[in-house]
């Protein structure tokens, strides 16, 4: 478990030699994502005011006006400001939806795998139900019914992506519960909650963390996809929303969609790199 604390504990992360020991993919992914988080946190300082403000003339291409380095959109909103503020929504939606999916998925997986029997049957049938429905369609339907508000978008994405985590955790739990130290704990009188939380959960965490990085990337993409179809919270600027709003001008001003599109590509790539890096790291750990 030292490996996990290597990644999670900031103390070790900050040490350059520890960072250098990490796989290249993981390192670059972390650097990009950290930079994005910093930008998102500093958004109000970098671009004070409302990113929806009609700041300048519409349809300024990047470079047309030094005041708007990335240009302005259809209504004259500053694209750079939108990009910086949009990072917040994209990341918040990505992380919150993943947190929701991981919480629900882990709980279901643990209960299902550890308790077995009818609990397993019921929970797995429910999980399969969520697995067989196309996720993006279900998310569209949920947002269309609940309304295009940020909390509902998080809910819709979270609800459509927990099933993968549940299957993963269940499979790990099934293997772990047969191990001697778990059986000893049970023999010593450890109740199911205690065994699940203290002995099984810490050991299923590594695959969950890998899954979470992939899920976050998927959530960012899903949010962008929903926004493209007009299912974004029009009161918060987001990258997907910026693409959706500029779709009208795709032929005349492609930069309006390309710039936020590129931001999404970079974010998703960073998250995928982290996922790949973690997988490599864990495999190396297994071998050692």
């Amino acid at each position: 478990m030292t490996l996990i604390s290597d990644i999670a504990a900031p103390r070790t992360l900050l040490r350059l030699d520890t960072l250098r020991r990490l796989p290249f993919a993981l390192r670059s992914g972390l650097v990009i994502l950290t930079a994005e988080v910093v930008i998102a946190v500093l958004a109000n300082w970098l671009y004070p005011g409302d990113p929806f403000d009609l700041a300048g003339a519409p349809f300024l291409a990047p470079g047309d006006d030094p005041q708007f380095p990335l240009g302005t959109d259809i209504l004259g909103r500053d694209i750079a400001a939108g990009l910086v503020h949009g990072a917040r929504i994209s990341l918040i939606v990505g992380f919150s939806a993943t947190a929701l999916a991981v919480t629900v998925g882990t709980t279901v997986g643990l209960l299902s795998g550890y308790l077995g029997g009818w609990v397993d049957h019921v929970l797995m049938r429910v999980t399969e139900l969520f697995q067989v429905i196309p996720h993006f369609l279900l998310a569209i339907i949920l947002v269309a019914i609940l309304g295009a508000r940020i909390e509902f978008i998080v809910l819709a994405i979270g609800l459509t992506s927990w099933s993968m985590v549940a299957r993963l955790v269940r499979a790990e739990t099934l293997a772990l519960r047969e191990l001697d130290y778990v059986r000893i704990c049970v023999a010593m009188g450890g109740g199911p909650v205690r065994v699940m939380l203290t002995h099984i959960l810490p050991n299923v965490l590594p695959p969950i963390i890998v899954a979470a990085s992939i899920l976050t990337a998927l959530a960012v993409l899903t949010e962008a996809g929903l926004a493209f179809f007009g299912l974004s919270d029009s009161n918060h600027i987001s990258w997907g929303g910026m693409i959706g709003a500029s779709r009208d001008a795709l032929l005349t001003a492609p930069y309006m969609t390309l710039i936020p599109g590129l931001a999404i590509v970079v974010t998703v790539m960073a998250l995928s790199l982290i996922g790949d890096g973690l997988t490599a790291l864990l495999r190396r750990g297994d071998g050692a």
Partner: protein, 537 residues
């Protein structure tokens, strides 16, 4: 391209040469002889119609299709000139209290049944006066419709009425076949979706979500017409995909601004396409803001005025409509010269300080967080442009401390919210002014037009005794001059109370392939029957 095409066309060289000549000299186009045949593909816009006859549905997409299948008593040419259609002659009596129509003989419905005056009387009594949102105002003066013989219809009036002859075209007053509608529930009659008319094209099939197919009516009364074999309406939901369809030549015609305003300049440069701004005068399209005056904060006229003061209408037209629109000053469009009041109406020029002062006065001071009040802002789901309008307004209001939450929804939800539940604060919507304010304005300012569940009626809930007096006086005005004078007062009253206001006079456009010839560009050209239109090979 053209050179390599020549060898294969050797036997048609003359034709080719002629076509090139035509292309080089547009002046010659007028002298062209129409070519018979061909299929004209149009795009259904906005969206797909819900029915195919304007007798029971008045959305733009319905009007476009229905106008090919049905005839009106009259049709309107350039400058609102009246032209005969199902009626060959119309005479107004000296006292103005009787209009006598002579109907065209030997006209048959598409199912072969003869068209007679009974169909007109039935349509008036059972369709127009019962299920149409505007007919009750238009025909307020009509006491009875008489049919002395199968080819004569007489409108008996209580008082002279200048509006009736402006509303007898096929889309506004659709004549439905009595033999198929009598004794049925008009709104659920199966022929609403497989219409039987007298027009130049007959209904063939409607594949939902995909296409509507119409074919030439071989028994059309205007012998030799139409020229086209078929007219097909295609459903293409995405604006960029529609533009691609025009550019590739897959689609020849689209009305109601079928492509994004951002692609307009590109279309104008494309030699294979034409952009046509004419043909919308009858429709009188404008973009309006409308308040719910039933509840706070917009029950207070000062708050409504503050909102208008807070909006830079010049910038609204310039930014959201890319300059093709024009700021509104009255509920009547400036193109309706007979009724439009050019100056002297209450106006609310862009002035944020004034807006803030009015809000202070109304009891909405800025709170610690800078906000005065929070409202909802719903935009009519007629495409992306309305969302842009909503976003523009949200930012404008924010500057004076009004925090608006934008809400998006589909059309049935929007109609339900505004016209059934009345659960809204402020909406940005579309308004059709039509040829006459009696058709266009009564339905939004008359208290008797507050109709539950009826879209495009008086949704704001505005009821003013002063306004009602003006409108009702106009309905029974003895002379046309008096009626016009009263509608000028209606505009003054509306601008004073501002239950709704014109954000911009809309300029819609038609996109048409250069192959399409003799497209009607009269005041209601977009709802023309296409009987004179033909496709160059």
């Amino acid at each position: 391209m053209a050179l390599t095409a020549f060898p294969a066309w050797t036997d048609r060289r003359t034709v080719c040469a002629m076509l090139i000549g035509i292309a080089l000299a547009p002046g010659l186009a007028r002298a062209e002889t129409p070519v018979r045949g061909g299929t004209l593909v149009a795009v259904s816009n906005p969206g797909e119609p819900n029915v195919l006859t304007t007798g029971v549905g008045q959305a733009g997409a319905v009007l476009a299709v229905s106008s090919k299948i049905f005839d009106g008593l009259l049709r309107y040419g350039e400058n609102f000139a009246l032209e005969p259609e199902l009626a060959t002659a119309w005479v107004t009596s000296a006292d103005g209290k009787e209009i006598r129509f002579t109907l065209r003989p030997n006209v048959r419905w598409h199912d072969g049944a003869p068209f007679t005056s009974a169909d007109v009387k039935f349509s008036f009594e059972q369709v127009w006066m019962k299920v149409h949102p505007r007919a009750r105002a238009t025909f307020a003066a009509v006491e009875a419709v008489e049919t002395p013989d199968p080819l004569t219809v007489v409108f008996k009036l209580r008082n002279p009425s200048g509006v009736i002859l402006s509303a007898l075209n096929s889309t506004e007053s659709t004549v439905l076949p009595k033999h198929l509608y009598e004794g049925t529930d008009i709104l659920t009659n199966p022929y609403n979706v497989k219409p039987v008319g007298t027009g130049p094209f007959r209904f063939v099939e409607w594949v939902r979500g995909e296409r509507i197919v119409l074919e030439r009516n071989p028994d059309y009364w205007d012998t030799g017409k139409p020229y086209l074999d078929r007219v097909i309406y295609r459903m293409i939901p995405d604006a960029t995909a529609r533009y691609a369809a025009f550019e590739s030549g897959a689609v020849h015609l689209g009305v109601h601004s079928p492509i994004s305003i951002n692609d307009l300049a590109r279309a104008e440069k494309n030699p294979a396409l034409r952009v046509e701004f004419r043909g919308y005068e009858w429709l009188g399209s404008s973009i309006v803001g409308e308040f719910n005056v039933r509840r706070p904060p917009f029950d207070d006229v000062r708050v409504r005025r503050a909102v208008v003061h807070a909006i830079d209408l010049q910038a609204f037209s310039r930014v959201t409509m890319r300059g093709i629109g024009k700021p509104g000053t009255s509920p009547v469009l400036s193109s309706q010269t007979k009724f439009f009041v050019e100056s002297g109406l209450a106006s609310y020029p862009f002035d944020r300080a004034k807006a803030e002062a009015l809000l202070d006065e109304a009891g909405y001071p800025r709170k610690a967080d800078g906000k005065r009040l929070e409202i909802t802002l719903d935009w009519l789901p007629f495409g992306e442009s309305f969302q842009r309008f909503g976003e523009f307004l949200k930012q404008s209001l924010k500057a004076v401390g009004i925090e608006a939450t934008l809400r998006s929804q589909d059309l049935p939800q929007f109609f339900r919210r505004v016209y059934s539940l009345n659960d809204f604060d402020f909406i940005v919507t579309h308004h059709s002014g039509f040829a006459d304010p009696q058709i266009g304005l009564d339905r939004v300012f008359w208290s008797k037009a507050i109709l539950k569940d009826v879209p495009w009626s008086n949704g704001s809930g505005y009821a003013s005794p002063a306004m009602d007096r003006l409108i009702e006086a106009a309905h029974i005005a003895a002379t046309e001059d008096q009626r016009v004078a009263l509608y000028k007062q209606v505009q003054a009253q509306a601008q004073l109370d501002v239950p709704r206001f014109t954000l911009a006079e809309n300029r819609q456009y038609t996109i048409v392939s250069a192959r399409v010839r003799d497209l009607d560009t009269g005041v209601i050209g977009i709802y023309d029957s296409l009987k004179n239109t033909w496709l160059a090979p």
